[in-house]
Structures are given as C-alpha cells and as structure tokens.
Symmetry: C2
Subunit: 202 residues, 2 copies
C-alpha cells in the first residue's frame, strides 16, 4: 500500500488557463482583502499553485500586478458598456442605465478598490494604454444627447467621480450615519438625476 499525499496530483493547464486561474484568484483577494493581501504566497495559495508557478507565468510580482490591472480594467469597461446597452427604449431609460451601470461596477464589483489602489500607488500613470481605453469609452460612448457636449462631459466626469466615491466609501459612510449600505448609492443616483435635469433645463 503506497503512501500518497491526499488531494490533487499535479494540474497542468494551458498557459492562458493557468494565467487566468491565477489572475482570478488574485482579483478575488484584491477585492476581498485589499491590495496589501496581494503577496506572492497568498496569491499562489489562493490559486492552488506554487509560488514559483506565479513567477513562471508573470515574471515577477509586479508583472502580476500589471496583468491584474489590465484584466480588471478590461472587465470594467466591458461591463459598463454591456450594462449601458441594456437601457430601455427611451432616452431617460438609457441614461438611467448608464448611472446604474456605473454604480453597479464601482460599488458591487471591486472596481473602485482597484482604481483607488492604482491611484495610491501611482501605477496608474504608467499604464498608458489603460488610460486610452478608459478615455475612449468614457468620452466617446457615454454622451448625453439632451445637453450640450460641454455639459455632457461634465456629467460623465462627475458621475464617475461620484460612483467611485460611493463604491469606495459608500458603505462605511452609510453605516457611520446609521443608514443601510445601499443608501449612498440611492442618494447619489438621485442627485445625478436632479443635476442632469437642471442641466437640461438650462
């Protein structure tokens, strides 16, 4: 009777699958425990592989960070676009869907935490193609037809700012003033509606 460690033998994945597996684990860690939990050993353990495997696929811990950002930003953009598409038939519905999508992505998913991490570490400025992607999506796609271009840009700018703020601090602040977790989001969307209407009226 041969003695053999319980559990898996050794999983061998296609390179892309291996990378995806590790990145998924890393993303989960980032969202749940914050950027400081992104240690090589932690990520490897979460992904169920050895430390060396992570290095093998990403070269270094920084390489992993970069790949993770790219992945998350890509998902973020895709998600905003997808949710925004789902807007109803009228213009109001569509715009409502855009607001909804922003909060959904930044608050429910970990996008706000990712963005905060990028901002705090300054890695943000280095990844120019990420900026370009965001730029093209935000500026070109999310425009509002019923206000002038200038107002539209302002509206986009402030929507994203607010959604990010709410995504990052909304829950904590709501709890602080004794409100349910989603309250900041509700008030935020209401304020955006009011502001939008005011701009249309002008």
């Amino acid at each position: 009777m041969s003695i053999r460690k319980t559990g898996k033998v050794r999983v061998r994945r296609a390179p892309e699958d291996a990378r995806a597996n590790i990145l998924a684990a890393a993303e989960k860690l980032l969202v749940e425990r914050g950027p400081l939990a992104l240690k090589l050993a932690d990520v490897a353990a979460a992904a169920g592989v050895a430390n060396a495997t992570v290095i093998h696929h990403f070269g270094s811990i920084d390489g992993l960070h970069a790949a993770l950002m790219e992945r998350m930003v890509g998902q973020l953009i895709a998600e905003v676009l997808a949710l925004a598409e789902k807007g109803g038939p009228t213009r109001e519905d569509t715009q409502e869907a855009v607001f909804e999508a922003l909060f959904e992505v930044f608050e429910t998913r970990g996008a706000a935490r990712l963005a905060a991490w990028l901002e705090l570490t300054g890695e943000w400025r280095r990844v120019t193609h990420i900026r370009e992607a965001i730029q093209s999506v935000i500026v070109r796609r999310a425009s509002f037809g019923d206000v002038n271009p200038q107002q539209s840009l302002d509206l986009v700018l402030i929507s994203v700012t607010l959604a990010m703020g709410a995504g990052l601090f909304g829950h904590a602040l709501a709890e602080l003033v004794g409100k349910p977790p989603g309250h900041a989001r509700e008030v935020g969307m209401e304020m955006l509606r009011v502001f939008h209407a005011a701009q249309v009226a002008k």
Copy 2:
C-alpha cells in the same frame, strides 16, 4: 585635526516633539507617495532619525500607522470645523463654506488618500474612537437648517462621498477628459448646490 562626519551631531527632542517630527514626515510621505511608501526605513530617513528611533516612539510600524491615522483624522476634523466656521453671515454662505471645506480638506490635503488607505487595508473598522469622532462631527455639526433632518443627513452623506471621490480621483479623471485639475471639484460643488436647492424646494 579630528575627522568628524559633516552634518548634525545628534538631535535630542522632547518625546512629543520627536513623535510630531516623525509623524509629520510620515504624513508627507503618505500624501506624496502613497501608503506603500510608509516603510520604516523611509519614514525614519524622511524624519532624519534612525529606524530604531521610530520603533522607540511608536513600538512598531503598526503603532506608527495608528498614530498617523489619529493625527490626520484629528487635523481633518479640526480643519473642517475651522473652515466651516468661516462661513459668511448668511446661511447660504455658511453652507457654501461647508462644501468648500470638505473639498479643501479631502482634495488639497491628503485626507482622501488616508481614507482610501484605511478603507483598503480594513484598519478603518478597528479604530472605533476615530469613527466616533467623525460621527459626532459629521452628524451633529454639519446639519443644514433649511431642509428636514432626513434630507440634511443625506446631504452630508453625499457631500462627503463626493468630496472623497473628487479628492482621490478628481485630478486623474479631469486630466483624462482634458480638463484642468480643479474641474471635478467645481462641477461637484455646483451639483451639490443644485441638489441642495432641489431639496429645499421640495
């Protein structure tokens, strides 16, 4: 002719001064280079003391973090209150001053970065007395007389959320859409005014 290293001999400060000196250096690092730059050696170097000195005064790097939070939160609260006091004679002026104060503190000073760091690391939840301090200030002081208590609370909540979002991401986002750095702040304050007015009207 005795050989002697150039520069200072050995500075001996009163304990509070020593702590204040180190904390000031740490705060500068945090604001300028982000939380990841808060290494023991970096802080010590920035403060012009030995690593061991930092440990001596704060016990550990975590102790330093905690003390730094306390300091910055204290400053933050004091600053908001001071700026809010400076409001002009009319009620509109005062409320304007509150908005202004929020953006000033969160955007110009590093408060938003501190808050983001706290949120990301989760240290936030541990420091209950900080939460209480914020709570008492935010909830009790910053109330708006011309709307009902419920609306007032919402207004406070959303103001802080927006100010934090703008403080953390405002510059980057503004640059992304080709606007001057202070643009997010301006639009944000405008939106708050509009929203406030809408609530008053209701």
